[in-house]
């Protein structure tokens, strides 16, 4: 229940009344949709995307309409919207050119890449392209790309791209991975073809767009490839200021659903306002923005809150998710696991970073003998199971191959978590005898 000072007294009901439930579900759907596909904010060019879109559209229009040969590189951090900008620019092109999409992750050598180019071009042209000699064997209606030309012909295909009936746009995702191929042959052919296109000779245009988040990609290019590249780079960025970052979040959360009632709108906007005014939310935004300005992170955090909204608890609460540790089991250790971690920590401080299960077990037995007050005497069995669980969770990493020892108890491991984390985890268990053992110096 909150008083909204700006719009007169507005009380947020603890749960959604019946007549507004439809509006609630529609709002939730719309917000989740907007989070996946953030809307543009009025008057703000988040991350320079609008400018990048304009530059790219101009370049693509040059190739598609004016039959030029163009190449450019789109740089930006992961999740900043590079692919989105390209798709938007491609959507606007009329008439539609041939679009070839390559990915450095999927095509790990030039041969695969050229096969993929041939396949995509053939399927878009509707003919089997590159098979000039064997035309009578090809049945155009059904076998579009049944047989690819032999590998020796493939480089020649690239130089014949401008002679196709439509202009071609090649989008290369993970461009930096293509620079790792042998002799950068594909890049050389493509950029050479682009450079050799002269307007007005009856060729169609060709554009090569590289997309990567690696800023030093240009230094990876060989000299002959670099000289053929136009060095045009379009930068797409993350939100530049905290206001932009928060504004993006606000825009996603307050997106109006298609058919809504004014009453619902007022209530929803008031709840979002309350959310953004709460101190912990403001702190969260400031901290996240200062560390990493990643829109996907923001999106996942907000989505995890919005997904859990239901009519009984419809308003956003102010506990946004904090980054989790890699090992959430440290928050809730079982007794044998705690014992093993303490023994490992002691070995670490005494200089033996590498240990075996037999060593940890004997340390524990030694401790019990000295202190004579362990809660339960455990035989090797359940401590052994806890040890295996730690190995599976990759908290204990093995330093030798697993099959090198006949006896499992003598396999060597090292602990992946620091002493400080172990100390915090042991403190959380609240068992004083464990804490005493941990702080005891052997």
């Amino acid at each position: 229940m909150i008083e909204e000072p700006d719009e007169g007294p507005l009380v947020l009901p603890p749960s959604v009344p019946e007549h507004l439930r439809e509006a609630f579900w529609a709002q939730k759907r719309a917000v989740l949709q907007a989070l996946q596909d953030p809307p543009n904010i009025e008057g703000v060019d988040v991350g320079g995307r609008g400018k990048a879109l304009a530059q790219l559209s101009e370049l693509l229009a040059g190739s598609a309409v004016r039959d030029e040969g163009n190449s450019c590189l789109i740089l930006g951090p992961k999740g900043s919207g590079k692919t989105r900008v390209i798709e938007e620019a491609l959507r606007e092109l009329k008439p539609r050119p041939i679009i070839v999409r390559l990915s450095g992750h999927a095509q790990i050598n030039d041969r695969l890449a050229m096969k993929e180019i041939a396949r995509q071009v053939s399927s878009q042209l509707g003919t089997s392209w590159g098979q000039e000699e064997d035309e009578e064997m090809i049945n155009v209606e059904t076998n579009d790309f049944a047989a690819l030309p032999p590998p020796a012909h493939l480089p020649a295909l690239i130089s014949s791209l401008p002679s196709l009936p439509r202009p071609t746009i090649i989008v290369m995702d993970a461009f930096d991975l293509f620079t790792g191929h042998a002799r950068q042959a594909l890049l050389y052919c493509l950029l050479d073809t682009v450079q050799s296109i002269r307007v007005g000779e009856g060729h169609k245009g060709l554009a090569v767009i590289g997309v990567t988040s690696r800023l030093d990609t240009l230094t990876l290019l060989e000299k002959r490839v670099k000289s053929r590249f136009s060095h045009r780079t379009i930068r797409v960025g993350t939100p530049a200021t905290l206001e932009e970052f928060t504004g993006l979040a606000k825009a996603c959360l307050t997106v109006p659903p298609p058919a809504t009632s004014k009453e619902w709108n007022k209530i929803w906007l008031a709840s979002v306002q309350r959310f953004f005014e709460s101190k912990s939310v403001v702190d969260w935004f400031a901290e996240t923005f200062s560390i990493v300005r990643s829109v996907p992170l923001l999106r996942n955090a907000l989505m995890s809150k919005v997904v859990m909204l239901k009519p009984e608890a419809p308003w956003l609460s102010d506990d946004l998710p904090r980054p989790e540790s890699n090992f959430p089991q440290l928050r809730n250790l079982s007794y044998p696991t705690a014992v093993l971690l303490i023994a490992a920590a002691h070995r670490l401080t005494s200089g033996q970073a590498i240990f075996t299960f037999a060593a940890l077990e004997s340390d524990f037995k030694e401790y019990v003998r000295i202190v004579q007050s362990a809660p339960v005497q455990l035989a090797g069995g359940s401590v052994g199971m806890a040890f295996e669980n730690l190995v599976e969770a990759q908290i204990f990493e093995s330093t030798t191959a697993a099959s090198s020892n006949f006896d499992k108890r003598y396999n060597k491991y090292r602990c992946a978590i620091e002493r400080e984390e172990i100390r915090l985890a042991i403190d959380r268990t609240g068992q004083t005898n464990l804490k005493k053992w941990f702080s005891r110096s052997l």
Binding site: R29, L112, Q124, T142, V307, Q329, G381, A386, Y410
Partner: protein
Amino acid sequence: MAESSLQSLVANLTTSHSAQSDAISHLATLLTLDPPPPFLYLHDYLSPNLTTKLVVNILDGLRSVQSTSFAVIDGYNCFTPRLFYDSVLNQLNNWTPTWEEGCSNFAGADDNNAASWLDSVDGFVQGIKSTQNPALSVKEKENSSHPDKSDAASNFFVFVYNTEKFVVNLPLLIAPFTRLREMTNLPATVIFLSAVSWNQIKPSGGAACEPYVLTLAIPSQQETISYLLSLFPSSNSADIDPINPFNTTLKPLYAHFVNALYAICSTFIRQPEELAYIAAAQWPGFVAPVLADWRSKQLASEQNDPDSVIFDLPDEETRLRLMKLFSPSWRTCMELVHPRLCSASGFSLSRDSSSSSSSSEPSGLPAESLRTSGLSHMQKWIILASYVASHNAAKTDLRIFGKQSEGGGRKKGGGTRKARSSAKIKASTHLMGPNSFPLDRLIAILGSFLADSHTNPMEDGDRSDPEVEAWRVNVFVSISELVECRLLQRVGAHDKLDGPPVFKCYASHQEVAELAEDLGVVLSDYLWNVV
């Protein structure tokens, strides 16, 4: 998806998966979004098996309501890319390869190109596009429709569990596979489930895109107990004798039993499945006195009126006595059943066969001493010699064995030095495992032992050469046999012909002590550190 059907799906699942009730609605809502997030990562470090079943049930529920298709892949199974591609394609299209049709994979309408779908990532992407998007004909004409999403394509899911093994098997596939939605332009959702967090197993360099991470919370006491209760059968089957441990009238007693189980075992064991296993091991034994009581009542009443026997539960006092009687066996159970040294059924059977006192040790304990029972005389000497070689440093050999021929025991003068550094030396052999020794050292120590024990046949001067050779061959063959018994291990490359072969001894101290007694040797005289 309509909210009411989502709620009913969630309600159905909550009854069967009570150990993860708060994750159920989160997951169900995520998967029914339109579109779901492209890449979902589930981190469940406690009970990944239960979560696997939960996700499969949710996907099944979605399939029956919305007719979405999904594929479930075990990360262990796909050790080549081709296996992965064909499992996914077959499952997404509800195709099972049958022997009669030549075990062919799903080909769809496009028989000629289906073979190329399994060749590479590109082929796989093409296969998914062709089979999941029927509105898009084989000729991809991009001049008309919006390239982002085709209207007829519906959501489909690919769920991989045991992802930490998947990443080890197919590391190059992770980056393109997590971007499946981008690459196919279809509403695909990739779900990974693992006991390890994404940061530990993701490929370096940021190649894979960021997932929506859902960490499943640890179940509370209430949730675990209701999970354990849900495993008790809820109806009696007609053809089993009503006097059995799983009679539904025993359910309230089972509830008390489960509470006690949780109170005792939860400090050591957190996983709900493990607790269920221990419950299964203990319950028949716990309820045996009650059943015995019923049996005697039944026999007594058979003489009077066979049909009027009522099987009733023990009252509170009896129950408390039952618990007290039973409490020592919890520890035995945890020590044997939890590390699977004994199976649950074996444990409960052994308790049945013993008397009503619960202190007898169940059978099924591993008998370590069996390893050394069938050895020949020479093999026993070799084990002894190799144990000494593994656990003494090489420099001490001369000190120990050099003195033996003079008839004295080990000089105690080395005692002071030993005490100061005993912890470290102890650490290095007994806890870090046996050290390795070359064959020559083993032969030397063996010869020294045999010389001392006066059983050396070589002393006799008129042994003929073939017998000497036979003796030597016997030693080497015995060593090979011991390697096969896994009492010795040959370390290093097996195909290295130069340099002596290097071994380690894996016999335990207890076994070797028994052998030494057998052979009449005082073991502690020959060990540098006495355990």
